[in-house]
């Protein structure tokens, strides 16, 4: 598909890339006009990251050609890409925490004096000049690991600009930003475009894509399935293209019937892994038969809250009562026995042992339970296998056998193993942290239905999610967390602007919870 009129900064034609077992890019045509913001949209595994890695030289295509400024080029590696004026800001920052901001930005292009000594003063001057020119304030001597995420991302952008990037690729840039920081980022992007830069914006957040981009390319399963002009389209159309069928963006559920108080949390405090206070006095009540969703930008204490409630993190103060029983200092295993199930947010690291089979993962945490082991010691292999087979059937986990190592499953199926294990134990309280992160839409719907079903069976569900949409569509009540505290409890139809305001510390009424 050619573009009439405007000159093309990037033109990728017929790109194909095959990895073992999966065709990541299938004859992809992708073009970006100069000085536009172009969004590249698709689910996980659609091929957008691979396409951009090819553009940046990290991966080599099997076939196809790339034109930059209408000249055919060969991008053999990042050095070539940088030379062509392409800069990439990765989703997982390519920053070294123990180095300073300056050292990070200069890496690979360091100014030197004498026989190779690093010229710190010249680096500082160059960075100050850059940050002034683009209005991105940064301290060159600050230690990168000490900076907040928004500033780290800013350093990534400066890094890319320092190397003379004219074409910037941003991979899921707002995943770790507050709504406020996202707005600031968008302002920066618009300024850059005014200055003639071209921006490729990879995202799966449809609202943002609609807000910031000029044109959109949608990918699905390695192919391009749509070229859209932003002002002529809407969320439903994009989502349908992404998934290939009409998508339920709202969850159908009956109204909640809340019962007794299941969890009473009172002024709970805890430290993060860096031994810094992260949870600074959270208080709320959770009832049986309801879903309480916690909205908040990542890093405001939600992870720590869930971990303390689940018994995998030590509380430094406060109290948690489960149906009247004090469980503040209880460990994970005892809590499991008491009927508390936990879907952890880090499925590959915490929730599963990737090298174990489905069967072995299905009893993770319960290997000493008398249902699965004689005298808590010798494993009852028959019971374990039957349990695993049951879970696979009930939760529709796609696998040829229960002996397959879990690392060979797709992300969605992996998450289903965890969900199946936790829900299958018929919990009284279900703690779900980011239950559908990185999961494809089909599995998301399934997991949402399971969570609602548990609620309807009388379980108390606490949900933490960074996706505001998920929180709003699933929850019966929404608690907003900011800086380690619950700042407000809102009804589920609260407008997004108000939630965003609360999530960033504004708008708390006097005397509210």
């Amino acid at each position: 598909m050619s573009d009439q009129g405007a000159s093309l900064a990037v033109d990728m034609r017929g790109i194909t890339k095959q990895f073992p077992g999966v065709r990541a890019n299938d004859k992809v045509d992708f073009s970006v006009r100069r000085a536009e913001i172009h969004a590249l949209v698709g689910e996980n595994g659609a091929g957008k990251s691979t396409l951009m890695n090819i553009l940046y030289g990290l991966v080599h295509p099997d076939s196809g050609e790339i034109l930059i400024d209408e000249k055919t080029v060969h991008v053999a590696g990042p050095r070539d890409a940088i030379g062509l004026g392409i800069g990439m800001v990765h989703q997982h920052f390519m920053l070294i925490p123990v180095f300073s901001v300056g050292e990070n930005i200069m890496l690979g292009r360091e100014p030197v004096t004498g026989p190779g000594f690093y010229d710190r003063a010249r680096a500082r001057a160059a960075i100050n000049e850059l940050t002034r020119r683009y209005g991105l304030a940064l301290d060159p001597d600050a230690r990168m690991g000490d900076l907040p995420v928004g500033l780290q991302q800013r350093a990534e952008i400066v890094k890319v600009l320092y190397r003379g990037a004219e074409i910037l690729i941003l991979d899921e840039p707002t995943g770790v930003l507050t709504p406020q920081e996202s707005k600031e980022l968008f302002g920066v992007l618009r300024d850059l475009v005014k200055g003639g830069k071209t921006i490729i914006f990879i995202s799966h957040k449809l609202k943002e894509v609609l807000e910031i981009s000029d044109r959109i390319t949608v990918m699905r399963r390695g192919k391009v399935v749509g070229h859209l002009t932003t002002r002529d389209t809407n969320e439903e159309e994009i989502a349908t293209l992404m998934v290939g069928r009409a998508v339920l963006l709202r969850v159908d559920k009956a109204p909640a019937k809340p019962g007794e108080v299941a969890l009473k949390v009172d002024n709970l405090t805890a430290n993060s892994d860096q031994s810094v206070p992260a949870l600074k006095g959270a208080s709320f009540e959770l009832r049986y038969g309801e879903i309480l969703g916690i909205a908040g930008v990542e890093g405001n204490g939600q992870s720590e809250l869930m971990e303390v409630l689940a018994g995998t993190r030590h509380a430094t103060g406060g109290q948690v009562l489960l149906a009247g029983r004090d469980i503040t200092t209880m460990d994970a295993n005892t809590e499991r026995d008491a009927g508390v199930a936990f879907i952890p947010e880090d499925r590959r690291g915490t929730g599963l042992v990737l090298g174990f089979s489905i069967a072995e993962n299905s009893i993770l945490g319960r290997e000493r339970a008398l249902t699965f082991s004689w005298r808590h010691f010798v494993l009852n292999l028959v019971a374990i296998r039957n349990w695993a087979l049951r879970l696979v059937k009930e939760f529709d986990i796609r696998t040829p056998s229960i002996d397959v190592a879990v690392r060979n499953l797709s992300g969605g199926n992996q998450q289903k193993v965890i969900v199946a294990r936790e829900i299958g134990s018929n919990p009284k309280v279900l703690l779900a942290a980011q239950p559908t992160r990185g999961v494809d839409i089909g599995a998301i719907e399934f997991i949402h239905r399971q969570i609602v079903r548990e609620r309807d069976n009388g379980a108390a569900v606490l949900l933490v999610s960074a996706e505001l949409d998920e929180v709003r569509s699933l929850s019966d009540r929404i608690a907003v967390m900011y800086e380690g505290r619950i700042v407000s409890i809102e009804p589920p139809d609260t407008p997004e602007e108000r939630l965003g305001l609360l999530m960033t510390g504004g708008g708390v009424r006097e005397g509210a919870a």
Partner: protein, 404 residues
């Protein structure tokens, strides 16, 4: 669940065997080829060297009058401690730990066995024999426990700590039998013998009632420790795959985070694993004393069983059956080395060269790389998960600050 299409002709058990054996066998073969090249490059004859190895190891094709039965018996004597020590290395691998200290733990076990065997030499067999074996296990467990505790509490990498314990054990041994408390007589460098009740019986009768291939049976030193070693391998397999402790050890080895979530104390698991591993090595050392020499001698100054055990554990891919097979190979190599030195005039140290080449081959999965280049040999499986996970030399202490 869909059913897998059945592969034609080959029954699944054979298929699994071939897939399982392919990489280790290929590695051994590759090592022998490279070793042969080294021998040839330095003016030796690789064929006569390997022929001597085969003769000394398996009693096959002996041309210089060696007695095949004796060679086999010697091999088995080498194999016995290798099985138990191999287990002592393989078990911690599963927990993500590198037990390079099997040698020191083995020596500790030998020392304890001898000391107890001398001190209580008058006690009868049903009491003394279990006593010396158990004291060997306890000593080995303590030796390994030091490293385990250091790892669990401050994250000190067990490679460095266990190697230090190895050297300490060696010097302790010298101290004890050269002018030290266990010495037999001044001027000798061996210990007094253990009491008769502490000795493991030989498998063949000790009187000369039986003649095997021309040699009286008292010459064959193969002893009942063999059964203890095989039992140890079975216990290891059972522990690892059929118990909740084994499940937890494997979980810790693959993902400490997931293990913690499961409520497993990573610290405790590391310490327990090292203690059990040390007990296995200590047992190997105790069996050596009780079964072979019945006292400590200077032969132990140059003992390498604990290091061979590393190769045994890796080549055996961490499984009980694999360990036994690999122990047989390395036992044969050692028995064969002596014959190779005598007959073919090639230093027995070639065996260490071969061992190192096997280790390289397994660690780098050379066989896998070769298979990828040769079409038709099938896609290689990923490196076996039994390989210890790559890790820096100083890991975070096993428990994060937030662990309850």
């Amino acid at each position: 669940m869909s059913t897998r299409p059945r592969p034609p002709l080959m029954p699944p058990i054979v298929r699994r065997l071939v897939r399982g054996l392919g990489m280790p066998l290929g590695s051994v073969l590759l090592a022998f080829v490279l070793g042969g090249l080294i021998v040839a490059a330095t003016g030796g004859n690789p064929f006569s060297a390997y022929a001597a190895l085969v003769c000394g190891g398996f009693g096959i094709g002996c041309t210089q009058g060696e007695n095949p039965a004796l060679q086999i018996s010697n091999t088995i004597v080498f194999v016995i401690p290798l099985i138990t020590a191999g287990v002592a290395v393989a078990l911690p691998f599963r927990a993500g730990l590198f037990n390079i200290g099997a040698e020191g733990q083995l020596l500790a076990g030998s020392i304890a066995c001898t000391a107890v065997g001398i001190k209580f030499s008058s006690l009868p067999a049903p009491i003394l024999l279990p006593m010396v074996l158990i004291s060997g296990m306890v000593a080995g467990a303590l030796w390994a426990g030091v490293a385990g505790v250091l790892k669990a509490t401050i994250g000190a990498h067990e490679v460095v700590t266990t190697i230090m314990m190895n050297y300490i054990a060696q010097w302790l041994l010298r101290y004890l039998i050269i002018g030290g408390p266990l010495q037999l007589a001044p001027g000798t460098s061996k210990s007094s013998p253990i009491g008769p009740g502490a000795r493991l019986a030989t498998i063949l009768p000790n009187d000369n009632s039986l003649i095997i291939l021309g040699l009286p049976s008292s010459v064959f030193r193969v002893h009942t420790g063999l059964f203890i070693a095989l039992a140890a391998a079975a216990v290891f397999a059972f522990l690892l795959w059929r118990t909740s402790l084994g499940y937890e050890i494997r979980a810790v080895g693959q993902s400490q985070k997931a293990a913690r979530y499961a409520g497993v104390s990573v610290r405790r698991t590391i310490i327990v694993t090292m203690l059990i591993a040390g007990a296995f090595s200590g047992l190997a050392g105790a069996i050596e004393i009780a079964g072979v020499d019945h006292n400590l001698t200077d032969k132990y100054f140059s003992d390498t069983t604990g290091f061979d055990a590393i190769a045994v554990a890796l080549l055996g891919l961490g499984s009980a059956v694999g360990i036994v097979l690999a122990a047989i190979l390395f036992g044969a190599l050692h028995a064969g080395g002596a014959v190779m030195q005598a007959d073919a005039n090639i230093s027995g140290n070639l065996v260490f060269v071969l061992q190192a080449l096997i280790l390289f081959s397994i660690a780098a999965n050379f066989v896998g790389a070769i298979r990828q280049r040769i079409p038709g040999l099938g896609r290689p499986t990923a490196l076996p998960p039994e390989m210890p996970p790559a890790a820096p030399l100083m890991t975070e202490a096993a428990a994060p600050p937030a662990e309850a």
